[in-house]
């Protein structure tokens, strides 16, 4: 399925943001989504790191797609991803040791983020370089957006701050449970609920519109 590259590339970019949002719609890459979103800064850096890896791995996979034998493609993809993750790991260490410490093993665990392998297998191995880069960028930004939603909510409620800035007067009693693991599950569950609600309303409206026109 070779798609015409220039025509579809904007759409490849947009679809990751909302319609096929990796977290809210496809429910992929849950582990980092839940694990590092106890603060906005962590969520943002994780999102950027993942975007970096997904764009580069999509590029390389798409470039090499005609040379990779079908039988060993998954192993090859994982090796490509692991290489870029190692790069990111050292990069973050060079930029900020604090962030590296906060994210800990979860930077290395980007390797096993199903989202990245999923995009390599489902998109980059079948499409041209340009479209694959756009797809990776869209998915990465959509992923970062979801992480920020989750991280923002959890940090505001759990520590009363956003990106380290205090939001509430001194008397505010933070909900400590929100920055604990169980808070992550709750928040994501509720966010999915909100997302479903918005989507079903959109569908309803579209159905009404269609009825009106027909």
């Amino acid at each position: 399925m070779a798609s015409p590259e220039a025509v579809g590339s904007t759409d490849e970019f947009i679809k990751g943001l909302w319609r096929e949002n990796p977290v809210f719609v496809q429910v992929l890459g849950m582990c980092p989504v839940l694990a590092v979103t106890n603060s906005g800064v962590n969520a943002l850096s994780m999102g950027l790191a993942t975007t970096f890896v997904i764009v580069l791995s999509n590029t390389l996979v798409s470039t090499l797609r005609n040379f990779i034998p079908k039988e060993v493609r998954i192993a090859t993809f994982i090796l490509i991803i692991a290489t870029f993750v190692t790069v990111v790991d050292y990069l973050i260490q060079a930029i900020s040791l604090d962030i590296h410490r906060a994210l800990g093993a979860f930077i290395s665990l980007i390797v096993v983020n199903c989202l990245i392998l999923g995009r390599a297998e489902a998109f980059a191995s079948k499409n041209g370089v340009g479209a694959s880069i756009m797809d990776g960028l869209g998915m990465g930004i959509g992923f970062t957006f979801a992480l920020l939603c989750l991280g923002g909510v959890r940090e505001i409620l759990g520590s009363g701050t956003l990106f380290g800035l205090a939001l509430f007067p001194a008397g505010f009693q933070p909900w400590v449970v929100m920055i604990l693991p169980s808070g992550g599950f709750f928040t994501l569950g509720v966010l999915l609920l909100v997302f479903n609600r918005i989507k079903s309303r959109q569908d309803e409206k579209r159905a009404v519109l269609q009825e009106a026109t027909s």
């Binding site: 849950m30 694990a35 692991a82 290489t83 199903c114």
Partner: protein, 193 residues
């Protein structure tokens, strides 16, 4: 080198810092395969086995990488070992029980991208466990994973009978249940200290 007692390591990996409910590792199979109790049990068994084997291999590789002074190869070599172990288990299950093979479906090869297994290999390296500690750690983590999976599957089987508002059906309700489970696992805090 770490001098933690073996029992402490086991309890820590299994209950206090349960891989699924406290570290969020292996959420994908946790959400994907936990609809039926039987599948969940077998999936847990497969993950346990892969964990044990890859933990032992990761220990050996780490020693080798330290010896040749190439720590930047750590991630790449770990993932290769895990991928080949999973391949092995897949062939084994296909031969021994085709029915189970069909049941596990896509989730069997996906054990490769199960973060719990790579996470285990990375954590044991970070903590500097020796050989025996590694094995106990892997066992604890595997049993903890299976426990969480089985608990979840049990609840979800009961949930089939309940009426759930259609907006939270599927992943949303599962995540909220997971939150409650995780809350209850916090009760184990301090057990393995």
């Amino acid at each position: 080198m770490s001098d933690e007692a073996l029992g402490t390591i086991f309890l820590n990996a299994c209950l206090v810092n349960n891989f699924v409910l406290a570290y969020f590792l292996g959420i994908c199979p946790f959400l994907g395969v936990s609809a039926k109790l039987e599948t969940a049990t077998r999936m847990g068994g497969a993950v346990c086995f892969v964990m044990l084997v890859s933990s032992v291999c990761a220990f050996g590789i780490n020693q080798l990488l330290i010896a040749i002074n190439a720590p930047y190869l750590q991630l790449i070599s770990y993932i290769v070992v895990i991928a080949s172990t999973v391949q092995l288990v897949e062939m084994f299950i296909k031969k021994m029980s085709p029915a189970l093979f069909r049941q596990l479906g896509i989730f069997l090869p996906l054990i490769t991208t199960n973060c719990a297994i790579l996470g285990l290999a990375l954590f044991q390296t970070n903590k500097g466990y020796d050989f025996l500690q590694c094995i106990v750690y892997a066992l604890g983590a595997g049993i903890g994973f299976t426990l969480a999976l089985i608990l979840m599957a049990g609840i979800r089987e009961k949930l089939e009978l309940a009426t759930v508002p259609h907006l939270v059906q599927g992943t949303a309700i599962t995540l909220i249940i997971a939150g409650i489970l995780s809350l209850s696992f916090m009760g184990f805090a301090g057990l393995g200290a």
